[in-house]
Amino acid sequence: MKVFFELGWFFKERKKQYLVGISLLIMVAMLQLVPPKIIGVVVDEIGGGSLTVGSLVKWLSLLAASAILMYVIRYYWRIMIFGSSMTLAKRLRAKLFHHFTSMAPSFYQKRRIGDLMAHATNDVSAVQQTAGNGVLTLVDSITTGGFVILAMAITIDWKLTLIALIPMPFMALSTNYYGKLLHARFHHAQAAFSDLNDKTQESITGIKVMKTFGQDKEDIADFKRLSDEVVAKNTRVAKVDSLFDPTISLVVGISFFLTIIFGAKFVVAGDMTLGDLVSFTSYLGLLVWPMLAFGLLFNIMERGSASYDRIQNLLAEKMDVEDKEDALSIRPQGDIEFNINSFTFPGDETPALKDVQFTLKRGETLGVVGKTGAGKTAILKLLMREFDGYDGEIRYGDHVIGDYQAIKLREAIGYVPQEHFLFSASLYQNIAFTNPDVGEDEVTNAARIAQIHDDILRFTEGYNTVVGERGVSLSGGQKQRISIARALLMKPELLILDDSLSAVDAKTEEAILESLKEARTDATTIITSHRLSALVHAHLIIVLHEGAVVEKGTHDELMALKGRYFEMYQLQQLEQQVEEGVSQHE
């Protein structure tokens, strides 16, 4: 029942539909009483020899009229109640999606996409069932059940009604018990299915690795193990699920039995007619559905309640980073001052950044060097305000970045991630991602700067080439360059290349850096790279080690320091010298 109260806000909102729908349901419940009564009357008139053509036509017309009326009403309550439940599904889905779009990356790191999908599909549909079928079964079991019992007691015999109802509480008790059992088992079955789903998802995404290692037999065996689990868990569900119908029909059967025995007694005693007894048994037949509905109701409510809880939990997740109330709605511009004393990723123990300070003037380029895990990405994440909880201050222009609306801050930043992700759309749409209505010139211009224009023209479909899921048909380097073009199209105040030239060859890298320099004279750029060649022109280079800045300066200054950067450079230099030595011989 709890779930109906939790959904109260929705029922209130759709008051009209639900009131009309429930009224119609009640009307059907009443009309349903007509046929059994008519059967009884006709039986009695046949038995008593009082049936005439006129009375037969009268009763049958009444029967026909009630049947047609029921048909019409049954159509409309469906629209009202089931229709409303679909509205709820639509609303919840939209709510979840909108919520997903506002959740920070840390939210996605904690969860598997398959699970989030399940919440937005299975859980929503379980809640929708509650608002549709749940309401139906609740109303129907109460009204139909109630009216039938009343009809039996008032129009036929209250004593017989009481006797016939004796076994009924057992039905309610047992279905309730089964429902409880089912809930837990169903949950396990769902979990097993979800594991199977995740496994499949993963193996298919990593199919190339699977093929490389030829572990298909072992992988299939693993899949079989998980599917055994699904069978086992679902068998447990079936063991309870299959109890409902037999229990109900047993209870009803006993009730029938009692009715016939005691009904016969009453008929013999002259308290009721044989026709009444036939009507009565027909009414008993009508009671089966409300009782079944009652069993179903628990099922639906249990599922709906669990699903609604999960949805509410998801929706209750707070955004990591929220705008201040009086946040500035201006696009940040100017110098960047980065002053972090310490920052630790939520859930980590050791800080990802320690005492990182630098100032980047507008139009300058910052190079960030360091091993994987040295803190390069952490700096970028903080700049983009993906995380807030740090000791220190980051200023962009005249304000700290927390003062700007997050959306305005991001508007200023063009980010090219390490992991390229393209959407299932045309190349044109992928590049024009931030502005789908942008002119062709701007798209090709961005593509030219990113050195991908010629590659695109080489495709038969050109800019209309559709890239599949995760852009399968493109090489890593091509994907990276599309990502760069995508970021360039928004003409960002700050362009961040997060190791995003790694899959591009040297020639292309140089061309990209060169055209970037030309096209973005006043704009600020941050490049992280493990290839020093990408950073040489930077106005400032910081060298990170275990989250701390160990060296800072221009290329020349860093070289003069003869420290870590110098070493790294020497390493590359050494390689060059070997090569040069070789070529001098020639």
Partner: protein, 595 residues
């Protein structure tokens, strides 16, 4: 989306799909026969119940004749049948349920095994999400059908036949008259199926669009957010959501018109038919009340299962569509390149020869043109060239990801097509540029289901590629959790784990597909050292965009637009003053600017 859209099936196609689905029942013949027997017994019980009451009414109640012994027997029989029926119907339902679960499990395993047999071409053109749907959701829909439609259908069939037999026995004239209900019901089912197929298709299509949008948005959320396209994505989602809602509403309306409400209408018609028959008969001859009672009971029982089956026709529709998609996948011919699987063909030295290989992905543009080269055992051949020059295609052919028709690839003098697949997989280790980690822990990722690998082997492999240090610094060491796609690791760490994975299998041939591209210089130096170690005694084919990493290769092939334009050692190529020299100078020059 492509195959998702094609879900209109003709009646004939549906029938074929259903027949094929039923073949999955074959191995369970015994179980089915038992379940059907149980079902038969329950139907018999259902039929006999009203008959007993009819006997009681007409033979004892109406004449007011109550012999105790006979009545006790009658009552005991009735109640006995009720109890027995409940027990048997429980067993029967459970049996059918378990049967459906097993059938679906087999189907799932078949689909999953088939997926493993499919070639890369299939994966190139099919989104992963839709393959996953085939394996899990579609099969789930089929199970729904087995449990609630097919079983219900059989049950209804049995019951309808039983009810008719009983009715004919009681009053053949009325029974004959009620036969008219059958064509009416049949028409309704026919019309409903015809229209619902259309609306249902529309609804399914909207749903799959909705899910596709959701899945893609979730995977690319960081990009959506970084480029503040949240609003656009919400709007797009809302639009699809609205369309889906409209489609669902249409189908609710159709259900309202042609499902349960109309069946109840027919039920009323049946009652009218019956009452008029008895009424009219009563004008000329006496009518037994018990017979009326029995007919009313039978008509009630007769409609209940029909109602249930009708209600679930949409499940049937969905399952047939799902099944046809599953079968399409099962029948897909885009298989992995076939091997001759001659067990006598063994890889001894790892001598690789490409001989005039020409290859095209789409059958139109050749991405490799007349490629010939030889790699001697233990030697390294490096492939350099621009992106799109054909480097990766060479590896794709060598790894047998794609079939080729023109030219030949020989390993130790034997065509690559003759080797057993297992040999190829065991002896050739590929390291991809984009390392893929599986959910599990570090150890399971290095083992990758290879149960023969001991913990020591795993550690040795990790040590070999110098991944041991960072692994041991993790809170749980080798058992450290790897989340989906290893997202908590840096790309360098992921690559190190992938290296260890390859080394652990101890391959004869090493294939490196820009394996060091995503690793920073310092890590790379370490990896380079272990790569050198790995390469000893192994034939190596390496793609590298950084020329410095491959200059000790015995042979370097320079590719350009699918052709080998230059070949030789590092020094030879430099002396040629050609493309390689240019590429070299470029990389060289870039660094010189630094200095």
């Amino acid at each position: 989306m492509n195959e998702e859209q094609k879900i209109t099936l003709t009646g004939k196609e549906q029938w074929h799909v259903l027949k094929r689905l039923l073949t999955y029942l074959k191995p369970h013949k015994k179980s089915i026969v038992i379940a059907l027997m149980l079902l038969l017994i329950t139907v018999l019980g259902d039929i006999v119940g009203p008959l007993l009451i009819k006997i009681f009414m007409d033979d004892y109640l109406t004449p007011r004749h109550f012999p105790t012994n006979t009545l006790v027997i009658l009552a005991t029989t009735y109640i006995g049948i009720q109890i027995l029926n409940s027990v048997i119907s429980y067993l029967q339902m459970l049996r059918f349920n378990i049967l459906a679960l097993k059938v679906i499990q087999q189907l799932r395993i078949d689909v999953y095994s088939k997926v493993h047999k499919l070639g890369m071409r299939y994966f190139d053109k099919t989104p992963a999400g839709s393959i996953v749907s085939r394996v899990t959701n579609d099969t789930e829909a089929i199970m729904e059908m087995f449990v609630s439609v097919l079983i219900g259908f059989v049950q209804s069939g049995f019951l309808v036949i039983g009810v008719y037999i009983a009715m004919f026995a009681l009053n053949w004239k009325l029974a004959l008259a009620t036969v008219i209900l059958l064509p009416i019901l049949f028409c309704i089912v026919y019309i409903y199926r015809k229209y619902s197929a259309f609306y249902y298709m529309d609804m399914r299509e909207r749903l799959s669009q909705l899910n596709a949008k959701l899945a893609e948005s979730l995977s690319g959320m960081s990009i959506v957010q970084a480029f503040r396209q949240e609003k656009r994505f919400r709007d797009e989602f809302d639009e699809i959501n609205e369309k889906h809602y409209k489609a669902v509403m249409s189908s609710i309306k159709l259900d309202g018109l042609l499902l349960r409400p109309v069946i109840d209408l027919v039920y009323a018609f049946g009652l009218i038919l019956m009452l008029s028959f008895f009424g009219i008969t009563s004008f000329s001859e006496p009518v037994e009340i018990g017979v009326i009672y029995a007919f009313v009971s039978y008509i009630n029982r007769f409609f209940e299962p029909i109602n249930q089956v009708m209600q679930r026709l949409s499940i049937f529709q969905q399952a047939i569509v799902s099944a046809s998609r599953v079968f399409t996948l099962l029948d897909d011919k885009e298989l992995d390149p076939q091997q001759l699987d001659d067990p006598s063909v063994k890889m001894s030295d790892g001598h690789i020869e490409f001989s005039n290989v020409t290859f095209s992905y789409d059958g139109k543009t050749d991405v490799l043109k007349d490629i010939s080269f030889t790699v001697k055992p233990g030697e390294t051949v490096a492939l350099v060239g621009h992106t799109g020059s054909g480097k990766s295609s060479i590896i794709n052919l060598l790894m047998r990801f794609y079939e080729f028709e023109r030219g030949e690839i020989l390993i130790d003098g034997q065509s690559i097509k003759n080797f057993p697949k297992q040999t190829l997989r065991q002896q050739m280790g590929l390291v991809l540029q984009d390392p893929f980690l599986f959910y599990g822990n570090i150890e399971s990722n290095i083992k990758l289901f290879n149960e023969n690998m001991s913990e020591e082997d795993v550690k040795a492999a990790a040590e070999f590629v110098q991944a041991d240090q960072f692994i041991e610094s993790m809170p749980n060491g080798y058992k450290h959790l790897v989340s989906e796609r290893g997202s908590t690791f840096s790309s360098g760490q992921r690559q190190l784990i992938a290296f260890a994975r390859t080394i652990a299998t101890n391959p004869k041939v090493l294939v490196l597909d820009e394996a060091t591209a995503t690793i920073d210089t310092e890590t790379e130096v370490a990896i380079q050292a272990s790569l050198d170690k790995m390469r000893q005694g192994r034939t190596t084919i390496a793609i590298a965009h950084r020329l410095s990493t491959i200059q000790d290769a015995e042979q370097i092939l320079v590719l350009h637009h699918g052709e080998i334009v230059e070949r030789g050692t590092h020094q030879e190529l430099l002396a040629k003053n050609g493309l390689y020299h240019k590429m070299y100078q470029l990389q060289n020059g870039l660094v010189q600017e630094v200095g």
